[in-house]
Symmetry: C2
Subunit: 76 residues, 2 copies
């Protein structure tokens, strides 16, 4: 069983990595880049029977800093 | 126009971050976690008319280290 967790900074939270990527792309000549947000994607190989609630608990306790980050869980 | 780039380590490449997350989840009592791979997700706000080829070029030149990473581009 596989779960994919996507963790992104909440809107309004400064994203220094995203800003760095945006300016680097601009200096490389990619002038159509208006904004960049960077986050984490975590692919979990889970024992059969692991529930989405358990994955959500993993996010709440470890995978995401819920003060500044939001997360999305996809079970495959 | 929005593009989402997902960058993951290629299979076989050691993923120290993923290993750290896996052992942390284990020590927190989540015992059904058999494997963890961590990567980046980059959301790009692009000027209208930006092509997928240009986004691919951004990946090849900056967003991914193609020696050890693979990437996937989704245009929305």
């Amino acid at each position: 069983m596989k779960a994919t967790v996507t963790v992104m900074l909440k809107p309004g939270v400064l994203d220094p990595q995203g800003e760095a990527v945006k300016s680097a792309l601009g200096s490389m000549g990619f002038d159509g880049v208006e904004g960049v947000r960077q986050g984490k994607v975590i692919e979990l190989d889970l024992a059969p029977g692991t529930t989405e609630a358990q994955v959500t608990e993993m996010c709440e306790k470890l995978l995401a800093n819920t003060v500044i980050e939001s997360y999305r869980v996809e079970i495959a």
